[in-house]
């Protein structure tokens, strides 16, 4: 324990080298300027030390050119760092389309993971090496934060919303997973690990799942909660058709539009009147508190799985009791 301690974290994702590159540049910059200033100060302190009690320093006038130089150069350097950091951040904020989704629920003081095939894990997350993984996360209580140092990823996990983070592991291994937003008594105990498996091991691991996928669980929930009373397959009822809805652009009351993603679907179940689809009455009950976060994500996955039955054009003419749909 006391003899073998790391000074630098493992680098186990595609993003890690990019983050480390910027880090080392900044370390170099810091060392350079710190040594420069420290060196100058110490040199001056010795070279110009006071020799007689009454002596005073030299008086200088002007110096505008120098001021401009040492304002402009730092400004230039900071702009470079800004651009570099922004570029890394953009990559961090753009999960690839082919990323595998895993749903994450944080709660005091544990992490729950739901894979699309129905597998559930607690405090341990299995992921494949060499494929991007996107975590769709929410909290059941207070703000948490999912942090995997080896991957250089971190994002707050908020109650009432989805946030996400993505990574692609580059080598098999077991890596620390921490909660990085103070959340109460067992904040430092709310950790676990991410286990990255090679492709064949990962397939084996997936195959060991028992039970149905998230989408099929969501389908059962859809029926149990009687969602199909208003959201009918293939026809407009009191609620919009859900087939093909995910990924489409929907007009909201008030004229704004929204691209339907997991967050919008979740919000529409939990608080339907927040962003109501144009042409529909606010009659859907709010399911806040009636479904667990796991149930919500299963419903979301189910709705995502609903392909359009046939090409449709939905015209949102606003008539009481619903909208008219004209088939194309």
């Amino acid at each position: 324990m006391l003899t073998d301690f790391p000074l630098f974290p493992e680098s186990a994702s595609t993003m890690a080298p990019r983050v480390d590159g910027l880090y080392f540049f900044l370390v170099g910059l810091t060392v350079f300027f710190s040594l420069l200033i420290a060196g100058l100060i110490v040199t001056f302190a010795i070279k110009y030390r006071r020799l007689t009690p009454d002596s005073v320093g030299a008086r200088f006038h002007g110096g505008m050119a120098l001021e401009v130089v040492w304002s402009v150069i730092p400004l230039g350097i900071t702009l470079v760092i800004f651009a570099w950091g922004a570029s890394v951040f953009f990559a961090m904020s753009s999960p690839p389309d082919e990323a595998i989704n895993v749903y994450v629920v944080g709660k005091q003081w544990m992490w729950k993971f739901q894979h699309l095939n129905g597998q559930r894990e607690v405090n341990e997350l299995h992921v494949p090496v060499g494929r991007p993984v996107k975590l769709i996360m929410t909290s059941e209580d207070v703000i948490h934060d999912l942090f995997v140092p080896a991957f250089r990823v971190k994002a707050d996990v908020l109650p009432g919303r989805y946030t996400h983070v993505w990574f692609e592991a580059t080598k098999p291994g077991s890596y620390h997973l921490f909660c990085a937003e103070y959340c109460g008594t067992q904040h430092s105990g709310m950790g676990g690990q991410v286990v990255a498996l090679g492709p064949s091991e990962y397939q084996n691991w997936l195959a060991s799942a028992t039970g149905g996928s998230m989408a099929s669980a969501g389908e059962r929930l859809f029926a149990d909660m009687a969602c199909n009373t208003c959201h009918r397959e293939g026809e407009v009822g009191r609620g919009p058709v859900l087939n093909g809805l995910f990924g489409s652009t929907v007009r909201l009351q008030g004229g704004r539009t929204v691209v339907v993603d997991e967050a919008y679907l979740r919000e529409s179940i939990v608080n339907p009147s927040s962003r109501l689809t144009e042409g529909f009455q606010p009659v859907m009950p709010a399911y806040q508190g009636l479904l667990t976060e796991e149930g919500l994500s299963e419903l979301v996955e189910y709705i995502k799985s609903l392909e359009p039955a046939q090409p449709v054009t939905l015209s949102m003419a606003s008539t009481p009791g619903g909208s008219e749909r004209t088939a194309q």
């Binding site: 200033i37 420290a38 006071r50 320093g57 030299a58 001021e67 900071t78 950091g85 919303r161 959340c183």
Partner: protein, 539 residues
């Protein structure tokens, strides 16, 4: 140095005895000393919590105190240090004492309001201290919701109310300084003849006055939510926890400039005095203070890059955060240039000043790591952040505070302290500080999150180094308390200008008379005219 023939002035601001002469004083100098006692108390109280934290972190397991106790320790350490020490210390002790004298005035614009500010501070700080005794506070000094409003079972409301009250002390102090600097300058004391210490405090006061009210209302909303379940920040009730963060950091980022700008003002004075030459680039340094104050209000979102705000918001805040680094860099270069061909003495205040410049440079440059969004994602909420802000606040502000205290101690008390002990302490502080906090940069990048009671084994060695440094640092802070207190009784008496420095404060007696100036000075010289203005000798 000799005090042969130096006598204390016949009558000075400390002459009158009696509780009433202190508790009902309108003299800014006495108010400053009472603040000194108060902030020193809270510094050591907050420091005691830090000692316990570092003791716990010597071992990876959480075995010294329970998890809940640990959470209370780091919360109270942060609350005490930020609100009851770092924000008030330099302005209320050194600023209160010196600003009227430095501009040739008899007192601040509102002396009774100044006294009231002191009482408000004591009441607010007592209220929060009461909260510790009756259950503690475990929300972190940042009070994030919904934990603070719906989950924590500790004394959140009394603690928040105490900070709310103390905030008014800060606001009123800032108000007092602003009006004083605008309206009370002696004839001939134009803005650009003022010492840079005054410029720094002016910029600080702008922040105090504009930022603190937002914290006040935010804490009020947290208390209301906790008491009445209003739902302003709790998603379960329709609110947004990220909105709390925006409101909180809108104040709390500028607050760090409240903590560092006065320190920079002190450094300008120390460098000028101990190089016996004007601060290089006076105008640039003055405007840099204002630039920091203004830009400091525009960057709060850099505390929230991973909190769920949009990518574009993050980039705007990142850009502005880089902008605010530039004026600070300008100041560091100017101070360094001031030393060129100066007449440099190595007295204790100068040792602290040099320490400040070095440590502030490191702390400030590590700020660049954090402004870069792509890198901040990895290091935010880790010990890298802890190291960064301690470099600035402890390596920066506290060193400047100690430097200023030592520099103006002879003025305030009429006596000087043991120089050898003082230099030894300064060295202990410098080395202890670096040993404590440098390993934390490494810990942060390794991934050790902050506010952790227990941690993985492989982080232990660096933690042990850090705790070792903390003990050295702690001793380094205790020794000055001893010799400074001792000097009040047994220290050598000094004349009006023991350092041979230039400034209105060095033209009056040590200690100064109650009314500061028998006759209002008429100023015809610039701030640091060493070649023509040095009259006194080293006493």
């Amino acid at each position: 140095m000799s005090s042969r023939g130096v006598l204390l002035p016949a009558h000075h601001y400390l002459s009158d005895f009696g509780a009433a002469s202190w508790l009902l004083t309108r003299d800014h100098k006495r108010v400053a000393l009472m603040y000194l006692a108060a902030v020193t108390f809270f510094f050591f109280l907050g420091g005691a919590f830090a000692v316990l934290i570092r003791l716990e972190l010597i071992t990876p397991a959480g075995d010294l105190v329970s998890a809940d106790t640990y959470n209370k320790l780091f919360t109270m350490h942060g609350v005490m240090m930020v609100f009851f020490f770092l924000i008030p210390a330099i302005p209320t002790v050194l600023g209160n004492f010196l600003i009227p004298i430095m501009i040739g005035a008899k007192d601040l614009a509102f002396p009774k309001l100044n006294l009231a500010s002191l009482y408000i501070y004591v009441i607010g700080a007592s209220c929060t201290t009461y909260a510790i005794i009756t259950g503690g506070l475990d929300t972190g000094w940042t009070f994030y919701t919904p934990f603070s409003t719906a989950s924590s079972t500790t004394a959140v409301i009394p603690a928040a109310v105490g900070i709310f009250i103390t905030g008014f002390s800060s606001i009123l102090t800032g108000l007092n300084f602003i009006v004083t600097i605008h309206r009370m300058r002696a004839p001939g004391m134009t803005w650009f003849r003022m010492p840079l210490f005054v410029w720094s405090h002016y910029a600080t006061s702008l922040i105090m006055v504009l930022g603190t009210p937002v914290l006040a209302i935010t804490l009020l909303m947290v208390a209301a939510e906790r008491l009445f379940r209003f739902g302003l920040f709790d998603p379960a009730l329709g609110g947004d926890p990220v909105l709390f963060q925006h409101l909180f950091w809108f104040y709390s980022h500028p607050a760090v400039y409240i903590m560092v700008l006065p320190a920079m003002g002190v450094i300008s004075e120390l460098v000028a005095a101990f190089c016996r030459k004007p601060v290089f680039g006076y105008t640039f340094v003055a405007f840099a203070s204002l630039a920091i104050a203004v830009l400091g209000f525009l960057v709060w979102g850099h505390h929230m890059y991973v909190a769920g705000q949009s990518v574009y918001a993050a980039l705007v805040f990142s850009f502005l955060s880089f902008m605010v680094a530039v004026p600070s860099a300008i100041k560091v270069f100017n101070w360094t240039a001031t030393m060129y061909r100066g007449s440099i003495s190595w007295d204790t205040p100068m040792l602290y000043a040099i320490g400040f410049i070095g440590l502030f440079t490191v702390g400030g440059l590590t700020g660049l790591f954090l402004a870069a969004v792509g890198l901040d994602v990895h290091v935010t909420d880790t010990y890298f952040i802890v190291a960064h802000f301690h470099y600035i606040m402890v390596g920066g502000t506290i060193m400047a505070y100690l430097g200023g205290l030592h520099y103006w101690w002879p003025k305030m008390s009429g006596r000087t302290y043991n120089e050898l002990l003082a230099r030894v302490s300064a060295a202990m502080v410098f080395f202890g500080f670096n040993l404590t906090f440098f390993p934390q940069f490494l810990l942060g990048y390794l991934g050790m999150p902050r506010r952790y009671h227990a941690y993985p084994d492989e982080f232990q060695v660096l933690n042990v180094l850090s705790s070792a440094g903390a003990s050295l640092l702690g001793v380094g802070y205790l020794i000055p308390m001893v010799y400074l207190a001792w000097s009040l009784r047994y220290g050598k008496l000094v004349g009006s200008n023991p350092w041979g420095a230039v400034g209105l404060e060095w033209t009056i007696s040590s200690p100064p008379p109650t009314e500061n100036f028998a006759e209002t000075p008429i100023v015809t010289w610039d701030a640091y005219e060493y070649a023509t203005r040095v009259e006194g000798h080293v006493a």
